[in-house]
């Protein structure tokens, strides 16, 4: 098991290098550059040259990328062009907000998806099944920022019981988590339902019933644990993606997360910041997926056996 984990961590290195390559080159190839965005309107040609020097933008693309990689291997993500501060510092400032929101929204998604999916599977083909799935689909179809605005209008403007934005304690987390979690709940519900359906027709459930196990326990203990594998997969990948920040939600709720940071960096052609953020996102995504894979081992002993080979 340890070897498996170590192997996965080592695999991260080529992944991150590949991601940094793609992002850096794409940013450079995109039309528009950071110098024209950053230089004051009345900048003289000399000022522009000095700016390029300051930003270490001299040399060919390969040379610049080479310098970047060298720094990267020392754990230095460089300094943002626009904000003149180390990328790592900027990311670390904004990441906790994104982490909170990601976790909270996934919990909301779970709280919606699990009961809905299990009910739909158990009452397959009935009205309740249809109603559960329609509810899930409505959640998916609603643009998250639209739902966000509705929530703000209702709870902030009309009722005045929740703050309209910003990251100030638990109360301000509620609406963003609901807005984001609801749109994530759709895929999770469908997976829960199909995972449960698969399991509900298993022979070992029949064995459990024949033993006299109460139906509730059959579902909650015997069935659910087996249905968890696909659920954990989707939960994990949703959580991993949420760690990249949710730009729409962050904008509407003025949530100081990494989503806005990354998007602004790309729009402003701040290559260093954008590449750095995307590298960090890749790292967190893969670590989340690794944790998910390890979680499998605790749910399904057959998988644990595989890892130990």
């Amino acid at each position: 098991m340890i070897r498996y984990i170590v192997k996965r961590i080592l695999l991260l290195i080529p992944v991150i290098l590949a991601v940094s390559f793609v992002v850096y080159f794409l940013m450079d190839l995109a039309p528009g550059d950071v110098v024209s965005m950053l230089a004051p309107q009345d900048a003289t040609p000399e000022q522009i040259e000095q700016l390029k020097e300051e930003l270490n933008l001299n040399g060919t693309l390969i040379e610049r990328y080479g310098r970047y990689i060298l720094d990267l291997l020392h754990g230095d993500l460089g300094d943002s062009y626009m904000q003149k501060r180390p990328v790592m510092e900027l990311f670390a400032e904004r990441f906790p907000a994104t982490f909170k929101l990601a976790l909270a929204s996934q919990v909301v998604a779970l709280l919606i998806a699990l009961p809905l999916g299990i009910t739909a599977a158990r009452r397959r083909g009935t009205l309740i099944d249809g109603a559960s799935m329609i509810t899930a689909m409505i959640g998916v179809s609603m643009p998250s920022f639209w739902l966000a605005l509705l929530l703000i209008i209702l709870f902030s403007s009309k009722l005045g019981i929740l703050p309209s934005g910003g990251d100030n304690g638990f109360a301000s987390l509620i609406m963003p988590a609901i807005a984001l979690g609801t749109s994530q709940a759709g895929s999770l519900t469908r997976i829960t339902r199909s995972g449960m359906l698969d399991v509900l027709s298993s022979d070992y459930l029949r064995t459990a019933r024949a033993k006299g196990v109460p139906e509730k326990t059959v579902i909650r203990k015997h069935a659910l644990k087996n249905a968890l594998i696909p659920i954990i997969t989707i939960f994990g990948s949703n959580l991993g993606n949420a760690l990249g920040g949710a730009v729409a939600i962050e904008t509407v709720f003025s949530w100081p997360g990494v989503g806005r940071l990354t998007t602004t960096a790309v729009n402003q052609r701040d290559t260093i910041l954008a590449t750095g953020c995307i590298i960090m996102f890749t790292l967190f995504l893969n670590v989340t997926l690794l944790i998910v894979d390890i979680a499998y081992a605790f749910v399904d002993p057959r998988i644990k056996a595989q890892y130990s080979k």
């Binding site: 309107q41 003289t44 003149k84 907000a97 909270a104 703050p163 934005g165 659910l224 904008t251 100081p256």
Partner: protein, 508 residues
């Protein structure tokens, strides 16, 4: 059961973190004024940035030698008591006495020179510093400066640049840069900064330059979504909002307890032509004049800003010095049609490029619709601002641009209006001007000492550009709006968005 426990643990974790995040609200005995801004504040250092979002905050902590007096809309001394232009290349300056930094030291010429030296190292400020050949101290409050080349008759305007804020030399010598950057002569001091969320300033009790205010804390809260800003204002979460949505203007005007403040922005929106384009129509001044006759600017203003803009008749911004209220090329559809037919332009197709900002898209589409009535097809292409900038500042012969919708926000001095946009050496020469006569006019006006002569020169510049060359067709200057409640007063709006909160107080 284990699952439930795991879920509960997650919730506890989340709650715990959420409780840790964010600052606690201040006590009720403090007067806190909160301003909601749309763009992010990113740095304390005025020499690192030219973004208004940063300047609006830094302006409260630091001061410059001169600044625009927003009550009279003219350049006035801020740290300077007075100045004297001995010649365009030689200037004498006198600092006000008794101005204290927040570290307790007095602001004197050593601090000013230290700031100049620091400015050399920062590209945002170095351009200004480069205009000065040398500076010499006469005494603690007096100094003299020699300018390079032909000098600058408006040099006092240069000192109004936010990037030329004056720092405390003592602070930089005794503290790490991070802390020294918080020492200024302004009414406020930096207190707290949460990236992407807010920046807080507290009152500087030691300030001598401005009258003390009853505001204890000034918080700039970053709320990127206009609707969210409006709701925060209505809720009382903030006292003032920048850039409210146009759909909220009426609401702000009519709701009790709220008000809509406005000022005409010093941004010229225009349609310009790439004068180096291979397209023969585009390079023909007669064609450009025809287009100027062809557009109904009122309709365009209605489409782009719901009518909330002031129509422009001259290429120059109205509140830039030496503005002349020209009649401009009027809207004359019949004349335009006749000119197009004579030129053989009917049935032709032209390319228009601009950024994807809402108002520019509307201008472009309105232009397209209006030109269609004359049988002229306009193909619109929208791109990101960064891409647009690169395209329009590249070589006009190969860039492929023909018509561009753009804007320009100058300072108050005439040279700023034309230097980078109209001079052939300019860095934002979107219309690809390359006219030695125009160059000469711009240079002569910049160096002209006699006020009457200068006025005449700028008049000639405006008339030539507006009537004869028609490289730009000026459309309008849009109104800048700010929403506020009536709990606070004293905000001074700036036509280039660097609004001043120095005199803000809480109504008691």
């Amino acid at each position: 059961m284990k699952r439930l426990f795991a879920v509960l643990m997650c919730l506890v974790l989340v709650f715990g973190m959420a409780a840790c995040g964010g600052p606690s609200e201040s006590g009720e005995t403090e007067n806190v004024v909160t301003i909601a801004v749309a763009d992010e504040f990113t740095t304390f250092d005025p020499m690192e940035t030219s973004a208004e979002a940063n300047q609006i905050v830094q302006d409260l902590v630091f001061d410059m030698l001169t600044d625009t007096d927003l009550t009279k809309m003219e350049n006035a001394g801020e740290l300077l008591e007075s100045w004297e232009m001995v010649s365009p290349t030689e200037w004498n300056f006198k600092l006000k006495e008794g101005i204290m930094f927040s570290d307790g030291t007095e602001c004197n010429v050593d601090d000013v020179f230290f700031s100049f030296e620091r400015g050399k190292e920062h590209s945002a400020a170095s351009g200004y510093i480069a205009k000065m050949e040398s500076w010499e101290k006469i005494d603690d409050y007096n100094f003299t400066i020699k300018l390079v080349g032909a000098g600058d008759v408006d040099f006092n305007y240069t000192f109004a640049a936010n990037q030329l804020s004056v720092f405390s030399k003592e602070a930089f010598e005794s503290m790490p840069e991070e802390d020294a950057l918080k020492v200024g002569t302004g009414l406020y001091m930096f207190d707290e900064f949460v990236s992407g969320d807010h920046v807080t300033l507290v009152k500087n009790e030691k300030c001598t330059l401005y009258p003390q205010t009853n505001v204890d804390k000034l918080v700039f809260k970053m709320i990127p979504e206009a609707a969210a800003r409006m709701i925060a204002l209505e809720n009382g979460e903030v006292d003032m909002i920048m850039s409210p949505d146009a759909t909220d203007y009426e609401r702000l005007r009519t709701t009790e307890g709220l008000q809509l403040l406005e000022v005409t922005g010093r941004t010229q929106h225009f349609i310009c032509f790439n004068q180096k384009s291979p397209n023969e129509f585009i390079t023909n001044p007669e064609f450009r004049k025809a287009v100027a006759y062809a557009i109904d600017k009122d309709e365009m203003i209605l489409a782009a800003w719901d009518g909330n803009a002031v129509k422009s008749t001259s290429v120059q911004c109205r509140d830039v010095e030496f503005y002349v209220d020209l009649e401009g090329i009027p809207y004359d559809a019949a004349k335009a049609q006749a000119m197009f037919e004579e030129l053989g332009a009917v049935g032709q197709t032209f390319k228009l490029v601009t950024s994807d900002a809402a108002h520019r898209v509307k201008i472009a589409e309105n232009f397209q619709a209006q030109m269609a009535e004359y049988g002229i097809t306009i193909e619109c292409e929208f791109m990101q601002q960064a891409a647009l900038m690169e395209l329009c500042t590249s070589d006009g012969t190969t860039s492929g641009t023909e018509i561009i919708v753009m804007s320009w926000t100058p300072g108050k001095n005439g040279d700023y209006m034309y230097r980078n946009t109209t001079h052939s050496t300019g860095g934002r020469n979107y219309a690809q001007f390359n006219d030695p006569e125009i160059d000469a006019l711009i240079d002569k006006a910049a160096g002209c000492e006699d006020k009457e002569e200068r006025a005449a020169l700028y008049k000639e510049l405006q008339e030539t550009l507006t009537y004869d060359i028609v490289g730009w067709i000026p459309i309008a200057q849009h109104q800048i709006y700010v929403g506020s409640n009536d709990r606070i007063e004293g905000v001074l709006l700036h036509p280039a968005l660097v609004h001043s909160f120095k005199y803000v107080s809480v109504v008691e």
